[in-house]
Point group: C2
Chain length 113, copies 2
């Protein structure tokens, strides 16, 4: 079982620190653009190497921003939208409004074949 913080364990400094990163903001943007549908890690591969993404997913999960649930050999990533709204009303929406418009990090451009 993967460790996720409960709603009241989610801390603002932690969330902000974790979201102050291009790659993680791009992950959020992708999730939001896909309508909050859970996505497998592999869907984000243009954003970095497998091991690097694994690292970023762990950061987001530990901060309470995403939920990660095993599903067969995959892991499904989803936004903890309701939990974040409950804890910090308005925060996620205002961030997503901009995140979905953000140009993806260099990586995606270089690696896109």
């Amino acid at each position: 079982m993967l460790q996720h913080p409960t709603v009241d364990q989610i801390s603002l400094p932690h969330v902000l620190a974790v979201l102050g990163d291009q790659t993680r903001l791009a992950i959020l943007g992708d999730l939001a653009r896909r309508g909050d549908e859970p996505l497998a890690c592999a869907e984000f591969k243009l954003l970095g190497s497998k091991s690097n993404l694994s690292y970023h997913f762990a950061k987001l999960r530990e901060a309470g921003v995403i939920r990660v649930e095993p599903c067969g050999t995959k892991r499904l990533i989803s936004l903890r939208r309701d939990d974040l709204n409950a804890r910090f009303p308005g925060l996620l929406d205002s961030i997503l409004a901009t995140a979905i418009t953000l140009p993806p990090p260099e990586k995606r451009i270089e690696q896109a074949v």
Copy 2:
């Protein structure tokens, strides 16, 4: 003249990265609690040493979160509330709502005589 980014130069990743820090969030909390009244640097001295605060103020200013204006031998710090609201509607308010409730970093407790 101190360099401040214009409204459209303010970037979300930059703002989030800068606010993902206890000390800087505490500075924001103090500003908000005082009703957005401009405060001199010295008003924040319980949050750190002079040189350390100077470093944090520069970070906040460069990210477009605060304005710093010389006034005699002092420098007045103020929130760029209108600019941030224009650029990222709802973001600042949702952060401040929590920031004003945040327990101050250790420093303030240790140093408070």
